[in-house]
Symmetry: D2
Subunit: 207 residues, 4 copies
Amino acid sequence: MRILVTGFEPFSTHSVNPSQKIVEALSTEKFLGVDLRTLVLPVDHVRAPGIITETIRKDQPDAILAFGLASSRFKIGLEQVAINLMDFRIPDNSGKQISDQPIIEDGPAAYFTTLAVRSLLTLLQEKGIPAEISLTAGSYLCNLVFYTMMHEISSQTKPTQAGFIHLPALPEEAAKSDKTLPSLSLELDLNAARIMINHLAQNFRRN
Amino acid sequence: MRILVTGFEPFSTHSVNPSQKIVEALSTEKFLGVDLRTLVLPVDHVRAPGIITETIRKDQPDAILAFGLASSRFKIGLEQVAINLMDFRIPDNSGKQISDQPIIEDGPAAYFTTLAVRSLLTLLQEKGIPAEISLTAGSYLCNLVFYTMMHEISSQTKPTQAGFIHLPALPEEAAKSDKTLPSLSLELDLNAARIMINHLAQNFRRN
Amino acid sequence: MRILVTGFEPFSTHSVNPSQKIVEALSTEKFLGVDLRTLVLPVDHVRAPGIITETIRKDQPDAILAFGLASSRFKIGLEQVAINLMDFRIPDNSGKQISDQPIIEDGPAAYFTTLAVRSLLTLLQEKGIPAEISLTAGSYLCNLVFYTMMHEISSQTKPTQAGFIHLPALPEEAAKSDKTLPSLSLELDLNAARIMINHLAQNFRRN
Amino acid sequence: MRILVTGFEPFSTHSVNPSQKIVEALSTEKFLGVDLRTLVLPVDHVRAPGIITETIRKDQPDAILAFGLASSRFKIGLEQVAINLMDFRIPDNSGKQISDQPIIEDGPAAYFTTLAVRSLLTLLQEKGIPAEISLTAGSYLCNLVFYTMMHEISSQTKPTQAGFIHLPALPEEAAKSDKTLPSLSLELDLNAARIMINHLAQNFRRN
């Protein structure tokens, strides 16, 4: 089973991005029966969708777990839906701040995740990892990559289990912040990723 | 240098108490130049102050780090002040819920911590641990033990560095909660405790 | 110009629903050039979509402002998108709690609002009313009515400006709550509704 | 019965201060049996304590209700305790930012309010006003004025019912804020003040 795991580079005031950290850590690990591909995406509204689309076409993954940072979240968020909207509160790393534009002109308003998010949620919670189903992936780069990848796999004949997972801020970021910023340790993020990869692989072998 | 580290047993809906966990973990560790004494207190408004007072009189610690759980906190809280008030929102483990009563009749309204909380804060933040000075230790068991111990050492001739530290909920508790409960890993709690113990020991040797 | 304004009856632990209150208040007011129709919907996942669909077909409104309660919100939320999902955390008033079901089998994943939500946001903020664009209307009755009405108007030839607006809890509810529940006064809710109705009417006359 | 009601001028990024607004509004109102004195204090750590002390000595009020702004609070906070600490997160309006200093050298660590805060809380909640007992008035100007006035009346023979009440941000401030800032209407603040003044006056007449 080929699984593509993606993260993002740091952006804005965030000097580290937990999604990059877990992708880098996972790239050195072995999972039974899994051909794991990893990718760190630029926070660039032109390059990121280009790279994810190209990678999907080239690698033809059976599953995609795309990770990103959602500072201010309390729990790991299994995203339910990607919407056809770019509406950035801050510029991306290319310096552009898009307001109220569709991602794909004439694309559908939204795509639902094709991951079994409720089964994954139960698994994570049983392992003591704070997680939740999230009904919005925002309107920034995370949602852009999520929508783009769901759009790409919707045009393929092969079914792909794909979804987006938002990670809270790291404790080291909360340590520097004046505000009441919630945080989650990289160890828990990484554990959550491993649990999801192994679950996908087990189900794949079973079918 | 003799350091007393205390925690509390679980209470109310909290099936584990991080302060108990770190006290148990620390009890098996060695710290250079430190005679470490540990104590897990009952969440009982009669027994807890009795035990802490007796232990201080018997062990004559040079420093006291008392830990407790403050579910809903985002960061580790170095408490500034203990107040002469019991005003419980929930019953203690003996089933009693005290409302608006002084801890010590005719005691002073408050005692300030004698820990160097601002130096400790800087140290913790430098290590990437989310921490803050807190201006209230509540009006439940934590504040009761904090006030009781500060009252006891105020009547002694020997100076004692003593204070109270509140720990957020553990991730495993947040995992079970419907609410947006912030959490912090036991590893970070434990690291914070080790940093504080070592800092106290270093300053003690220097003087 | 015919404008339909809807609210909901109380549900769950909420003894009053601000959306019902403002609909009742607006039903006795006059707006220049506006034929205002008001409707209080039941919190019933079968009856509510039936009633809203029937009312749209019968009344043929030029605009729809649907209001609902989102306890725990800090600001008035102009909803961006309705999704094809029912996933109730609590039962509706008929006692049914639907999990992870589409609203309309084979319906599109989502519909965007056809209200000019960014212009309305600016207007409300200029008047000192706390408001925001919201990217999720949840997966309960509010989203159900929102999706249903957008689905209905999408099949009509006539363009209809329609959207959903979430109101925070009322202060009287926050007064009873133990939690740190944010709230907003009915006067501000009502003012927000008036501003939006007048804005729709002015733009309608201009075109 | 002579009642002194105080508020503060605006400070920092807050262009209006609800405590000033309610003091100005109350100054034009009549309360049965009440000689109401009002005072708007500067946010200046030297002038504010001087003015409040002088006013108490001159006017000899029977009760003092001191109001201030606590942006980020969800409810009106009836403060339990004033502590002998100045530890400013931001400079005051004179440009000084005091860190970790006592208000009164050799003053007691704290004073409890002499208002019957629990009776007042019940009254406010019954009227549907979000209110709570707060265990910390901070370590900025509000706490400074609160401590100073409690210190002054502690040295007088005449008993004075005195306390501090924190008001949340106004909706107009929340409207301008990017953040999830809770707010409360001036009408509710003003109502709360009226309820407290009338309650003090009724109890005074009864005794």
